[in-house]
Amino acid sequence: MIIRFEQSLMVSEFLKEVKRRYGSEKELRRLSERKPKDILAAEDLEDFEYYSKHPELQSEQIRRAVSVIPVNDRGLSIFSPERLKLLDVLSSKQFESIRQLARFLKRDVHNVYEDLKRFQALRVLELERGPGNSRIPRLLAQYIAIVPTHWEKLEPFKEG
């Protein structure tokens, strides 16, 4: 089985997202130079530069997905009722801070922050800088797909 978080966005949205995430093209370039082995930042920079030079591609669609592989107990733990509720709430409401979100969910702010960090690492959401030290959680994924894999012939279950 595969768990896949999917996002589809236009090039113009991608460019905005990169600016929002890194602050500016300059900041992204600086990060990429400071951490040359950060392949994701390098890719973002490469794409950002390419699309910035090709305004005619602004309406091109980019498909992105993050798959959790292999799906084991730890992978499945992302679907706890609290975490699913968190995603559900973020898909319909905008919060100005993690504290505000935690209050809405009636949960401890630290636990909510840990869940958000987990989803952030999976690129399911991003934590945008807000006023002061606040972070604004923003959902990126549009779909969560659970894909059963039928690659191998099914083996009869044997107990013990």
């Binding site: 595969i2 978080f5 996002q7 090039v11 991608f14 995430r21 890194y22 992204l28 990060l31 040359p36 082995k37 950060d38 392949i39 994701l40 930042a41 890719e43 973002d44 490469e46 794409d47 390419y50 699309y51 591609l57 091109e60 669609q61 980019i62 498909r63 992105r64 997905a65 993050v66 798959s67 959790v68 592989i69 292999p70 799906v71 084991n72 730890r74 992978g75 733990s77 992302i78 960090k117 987990r118 952030q120 690492a121 999976l122 690129r123 399911v124 991003e126 990126l140 994924a141 894999t149 690659w151």
Partner: protein
């Protein structure tokens, strides 16, 4: 989804980041930092953490490459670069 990678958390051993666009595709496997892509025309694999030159792999569609990675991860319960390379060659 490709974004910067602060405080990488591996939930299930590995995770696979996939992007399609710019007339090409890429599959990034974290936290091993293995990248497979067909940018610059021919499909190739970048060794973990970009240590070494990219190695050309057999021409396949994005869906085929993705399935090979998924199968590999499911079979090994992890992603082993050397073995994956052989499967993709």
């Amino acid at each position: 989804m490709r974004t910067a990678c602060p405080g990488e958390v591996s939930l299930a051993g590995s995770k696979c980041t996939i992007a399609l666009g710019r007339g090409g595709w890429s599959v990034v496997i974290m936290p091993q930092e293995i990248m497979i892509d067909n940018r610059h025309r021919t499909p190739h694999i970048h060794p973990p953490k970009k240590q070494g030159d990219p190695i050309r792999i057999r021409s396949r569609s994005f869906e085929e490459v993705r399935e090979i990675v998924y199968r590999h991860a499911e079979r090994n319960q992890d992603v082993v670069y050397r073995e994956l390379l052989e499967e993709l060659r």
